[in-house]
Subunit: 147 residues, 2 copies
Amino acid sequence: MLRLSKKTDYAIILLSHLGGSPIPVSAQEVSTHYRLPQPMAANILKQLASAGMTESVRGQRGGYILSRNAESITLAEIVQAMDGEFNLVECVHEEDRCKVAQNCPTRGPLTALHRRIQHFMEETTLSSIITEGLTEREPQTLVSKES
Amino acid sequence: MLRLSKKTDYAIILLSHLGGSPIPVSAQEVSTHYRLPQPMAANILKQLASAGMTESVRGQRGGYILSRNAESITLAEIVQAMDGEFNLVECVHEEDRCKVAQNCPTRGPLTALHRRIQHFMEETTLSSIITEGLTEREPQTLVSKES
DNA sequence: TTGAAATAGGACTAGAGTGGTGCTATTTTG
DNA sequence: CAAAATAGCACCACTCTAGTCCTATTTCAA
């Protein structure tokens, strides 16, 4: 249905939160703050840690902090970590396996769309997400379909 | 996983094919031409017909033709017919239901991405897909991520 | 007029993916 | 030493996807 998974959605929220804290934040804290189930939050933070976007601090008073600054973490990276490789259509990166590769009319336009989305996600950094989240609290213009 | 369904993919192929034929094309024909399972092709063509993009001709020598010219059929419309409403994240069009709407950092950037994708899909017509499919048989530049 | 070829409109199924939970072990602090 | 936290799993219920199948109806053509 062309939708980002909820885990990716949550991951963005959690990373944005971590970006605003200089000390480790626990899964408990974020789960209560955003009213997410605690095991869910814990799992996502674990996944982000093993993907190298956060560092963990174990033990009491432990939690997670960003392992890099928010400018260097991209939306593309987050999606990749949570959802896996992004391929708009199956054949985007496997043209040789396609049955009708030579006369397939979809490759051109769909790979073009794929590249646009990929490009946007690579250009969108966690820091820009944090900034937008702080400033654009009433995104009327963003919701309407017409420009 | 942020992927178009195969049915959407097939639908684009089939519509492109119909765009090149002045006479009705049957499900049988396209299924053999593109090596798709016949029932699959038949179902997709039925669905496209009920969505108003094709018209059906029943009986022997029947089949489907485009109900409008290819310039007026957009990728957005095809995706909508096969995959349903496009929402990059659940909350794109239901901001009031969101638990953390006020301090949700994802709305801004994700609705922006949503709108870009939507816009591209609305700008991409079936006729442009057909044209690209005819001319760009070696889409090297489209596959590479850099550029 | 009758049979073949085609659509109409369903229901249906197996398998994959999603969202979410749970458990045990380990680490660290107070 | 106990509490609080992460590590690394496995696991489940549910939904969605891809694909199949069946019966009825329409139309052409021999």
